[in-house]
Assembly symmetry: C2
Homo-oligomer: 434 residues x 2
């Protein structure tokens, strides 16, 4: 009866297709190359600046939040303890502080009940996509190049993404309209369009005021939702920024994603979604998303929420105020990148005729350089090994369907001196290849 | 061109079916009834005992873990800071402490690389189910009554669950074999079987040694995985407990789910999965699950991991040692429940002929009482309003397909006095209905 027993071996072909997603392989490969050149100047790392982090602040945040519960909200000792230790409200317990932050920093008035606190913005995206993917006909739209985290979330729930062209001011609305039309002609059901209007990752571009209005109008006409993701808007380059889509959204077309990864800290894994769309029969979309969250992770970690709550409270619920120093670093670094590029490739530079161009983001952590040669993974390896400079091939953000001459420069964790050295090395690579 | 604009209204019929899952409606209804009778004795709450929680311990845990990173692992200041604040290893950074806990408390030797730290055990279940649901033919098996969190996870990824009968010692293996055969005959692909071998929620039953061996043999014969969920095994009633399935699993058939919700605290949302199955082409199933996690929530919250890490370190990585007091409370309360039931419905009790019976769990937080009348939601409402006692109708754990005469008594947060009063009131209900 018993056969010779053997160890299980799992064939990934029998696992969900998302484990074989090319984006994952891309990231593994990039991390591998980056890991093998620890001395190189790295424009590859997308993580936030860490110079101002202080571990002892964490206990302070916990204490601040504890005092807020007892003195601010009047909770008794037992209720305070329960807030920290027990399963809690699935929608979270710092929603009121997030609403105050949005009022203060974005001029955005939201009902705290429409805020769902999530395990990072990544979970928020998965929840919204899971909710919207109810049928094989459902489809979603996003500008390419696109944020890899968003694409990953679509893979997990089998939500097909239709790429939309991106121009110098973000998503090409005429192309979006065309893609929606084409999808409907195929019998598909367009549900939403994902957009990062301010200083997008990876392209660094921002939407114009006219396009913001245009996108809301188009969403209205086409009866789709707009998924607005806003992780970077605090980090404008000094010239200010435009209002979020959500703050001009009179008809609740916009589902708004917020993150504390770049403003407080990434490790906490605290983000949120504002989903104030009313649901037929009562309640808000946020409540439907909370149902899904109760099956995915339950409440967002209480200690993580408490730490972010304390962070907000210590800064009067102004994230802009809390991140003055970080914003200054990113502004300085963006300036250093643009200056270094101009000095090597600008109109009066030695390599002015090499055919190198770049964009001028109005903020954020990323800029894009177009090179006169194919800038793929093999070229990255060559760049790292021969010239000691790392960057991210843009084709990874096009799902392999474009961007083969473009590279992303991420400058969030570098000093101006390292930036200059890195662009110097990039110039040496260009000089070698042209 | 512009029509009269209107507010969006979301029709839940156009959202993923899981938002309409009957289990969610059940839980909402139960919470609603419970909420309306705050003075009733509640055998409904499944949350852990909270008498020993201390908010100030949290900062202590953070500090203990920080010292472990610097003094124990020799990390420099920058690396310590990065561990707390930045995006981190997707598989987590307390995997080595979890491996020590398993060695110490379960006699289970695991490669720390096979441990994936997750946002509560709930996320671990979603990840495993997401991985295994690669095709519409995939199907999974679980004993009914079943844990609602597991059923919720299956709904999120559209994984069909085939119910298996449960007897006094857990899953009926003959029925499991029969259900697998039937599924294959329908062209389905059985992937795994979910089981809580110790003090299951909701039934309180535990698997016998023979059935544990039998389940592993059956999994081998049928080429399926066993998903072992072990949230309660620390809380045996004094007579010890049997080895976990994983600790006798020589062929890596078992994927093991662990939770700190009932041992450290639920709010942290830290759990894990041991997935040491080798993958064709290299790596472990844990690595494939980590790929999915990188698209779902990224790393588990650093502060939550650090708090649980500190908790483990302060108890020499022995959860059994850390939960001596809680185990005593649950043991005392289980004894109080069984005594109170015997005094009201036992062979020498006034209501001995009423047809009330119950099981005798060997540990955990739950017992099941069978009543001589239909114990559904309407009866719960009657019980609460008229007699001041709350319990959970078992039919909610059968997906509405059974258990209509059974109720779950959860005794984790009550005192012996309240337990006695509650069973007194339950007796009054029975006396009223028979």
């Amino acid at each position: 009866m018993t056969s010779v027993s053997e160890e299980v071996r799992i064939d990934t072909a029998a696992l969900h297709a998302s484990v074989r997603d090319p984006a994952l392989t891309s990231m593994t490969l990039l991390n591998d190359i980056t890991g093998r050149y620890p001395e190189a100047v790295s424009f590859a790392a997308g993580r936030p600046y860490e110079g101002f982090y202080d571990v002892s602040a964490l206990s302070g945040y916990l204490h601040t939040f504890e005092r807020h519960l007892s003195d601010g909200l009047g909770l008794g000792e037992e209720a305070v303890r329960r807030t920290f230790f027990q399963y809690g409200r699935t929608k979270g317990f710092i929603h009121h502080l997030i609403a105050q932050h949005l009022e203060h920093d974005e001029g955005l008035t939201v009902d705290p009940e429409s805020v769902l606190v999530t395990t990072g913005c990544q979970e928020a995206m998965v929840l919204v996509l899971r909710a919207l993917r109810s049928d094989p006909q459902d489809v979603i739209f996003a500008a390419y190049p696109s944020y890899v985290g968003f694409l990953g979330a679509t893979r997990l729930v089998d939500m097909p993404v239709r790429p939309v062209r991106e121009g110098p001011t973000g998503m090409d609305l005429a192309d979006l309209a065309e893609q929606i039309r084409a999808a409907r002609a195929e019998g598909l059901r367009p549900r939403a369009c994902y957009v990062v209007p301010d200083f997008a990752n990876p392209s660094g571009v921002s939407m114009s005021q006219a396009d913001r209005r245009g996108l809301l109008d188009l969403a209205e006409r086409e009866d789709i939702l707009v998924l607005e993701d806003n992780p970077y808007s605090m980090f404008h380059a000094g010239t200010g920024r435009l209002p979020t889509l959500k703050s001009t959204d009179t008809n609740r077309r916009v589902v708004y994603f917020g993150s504390f990864a770049k403003t407080a800290f990434a490790g906490a894994r605290v983000g949120y979604v504002v989903a104030d769309q009313p649901v037929v029969g009562g309640g808000l979309l946020a409540d439907e998303l909370a149902k899904l969250k109760s099956m995915l992770t339950l409440n967002t970690s209480t200690v993580a929420q408490a730490v972010i709550g304390g962070f907000l409270l210590e800064h009067g619920c102004s994230v802009e105020h809390a991140t003055i120093r970080e914003a200054e670093v990113y502004r300085r670094n963006l300036g250093a990148v643009l200056k270094a590029l101009d000095e090597r490739f600008g109109s009066r530079a030695p390599l002015r005729d090499a055919g190198v161009s770049w964009n001028t983001p109005a903020g954020g952590m990323f800029a894009v350089v177009t090179l006169p040669f194919r800038a793929d993974d093999a070229m990255l390896e060559y760049s790292a090994g021969r010239f000691g400079v790392l960057w991210t091939p843009m084709h990874h953000f096009y799902a392999g369907e474009g961007g083969f001459h473009q590279i992303r420069l991420s400058f969030s964790v570098l000093s101006p001196e390292r930036i200059d050295l890195g662009v110097e090395r990039l110039a040496a690579l260009v000089d070698d290849r042209v």
